[in-house]
């Protein structure tokens, strides 16, 4: 408590306050205005108005702008973010995160199937007879077929879902996108 009081009454703190607020209110104001989203009109407006404020009350006015920036700036930032998000959803533009998540998912599916198929020993398999000729289909062969089939199904189904939400960015599967859109239209209709 004593230390806190000492700090509060220390001349160093006042010197710092005078330096920061007294000599560089414009600098402090610009830092405070960073709370506003980039390009917000208030950033320019408040900087311009600083020069209309009397020098004596400038530090107080700058301190007052913290409140303005907190309530006005952060709200504007939140509004802008929400608008951007809803716009992205409306345009169905895939976000960077969604693309990365989708790719990671694909990689993990492929890795899983490949790992299983390569771990299995080559001699394990099933014997089948066609016209009395015996064939041995190796299990690893099965697994490779399974990789192909399940991988393709997984990829297409996931991709279909992905296309439904984010149809932009995969031009080769445009037909799937159109199909998804048609299905969606049918659902709505």
């Amino acid at each position: 408590m004593t230390t806190l009081l000492d700090t509060l009454v220390s001349p160093g703190l006042y010197a710092l306050l005078i330096v920061v607020y007294g000599f560089a209110p414009g600098f402090v104001l610009r830092i405070i205005l960073k709370l506003y989203p980039k390009g917000h009109i208030r950033r320019r407006e408040l900087v311009a108005e600083l020069y209309a404020v009397k020098r004596v009350v400038r530090p107080l006015w700058v301190a007052e702008q913290v409140e303005t920036a907190l309530f006005d700036g952060l709200a504007a930032r939140a509004r802008r973010r929400a608008r951007r998000r809803s716009l992205a959803l409306r345009r169905r533009v895939p976000t960077k995160g969604a693309i990365i998540a989708h790719r990671l998912e694909m990689i993990s599916i492929a890795t899983l199937f490949c790992a299983v198929s390569t771990v299995l020993p080559m001699h394990v398999g099933i014997q089948v007879a066609v016209n009395s000729i015996k064939f041995t289909i190796e299990c690893s062969g099965f697994m490779h077929v399974a990789v192909a089939i399940f991988g393709t199904i997984a990829w297409f189904t996931r991709h279909a879902r992905f296309c439904q939400r984010y149809p932009v960015g995969y031009p080769l599967l445009g037909w799937m996108r159109r199909r998804c859109n048609d299905l969606n239209a049918d659902d709505r209709g």
Partner: protein, 94 residues
């Protein structure tokens, strides 16, 4: 603003005249802009004489804005909660 409806006002000037803190005033101005009660414009840099400073953003009361504000002030005058805090000539709450 009602004192001089055709004049251009900037935020700090309005804040000083009305005694409203900037944290309250700017959101009000934003809402008034959205409602079409005021229009905004930037000061012409060529008109800035003397001091070197950036151009200010000016707000001007529109016709519908003036009507709406007058109506609002008239309502506030009748409200007992504001009666003690009103400027008699302009009816602006302090």
């Amino acid at each position: 603003m009602l004192k001089n409806p055709t004049a251009e006002h900037y935020g700090y000037e309005l804040s000083e005249e009305s005694g409203i803190r900037s944290g309250v005033l700017y959101p009000i101005l934003t809402r008034m802009l959205a409602e079409g009660w005021v229009t905004d414009d930037w000061e012409d840099p060529a008109k800035i004489t003397g001091k070197k400073r950036p151009p200010r953003r000016y707000y001007t009361l529109t016709g519908p804005g003036q009507l709406a504000l007058e109506e609002l002030v008239a309502k506030a005058r009748q409200d007992t909660r504001f009666r003690g805090f009103m400027f008699p000539e302009f009816g602006i709450a302090r």
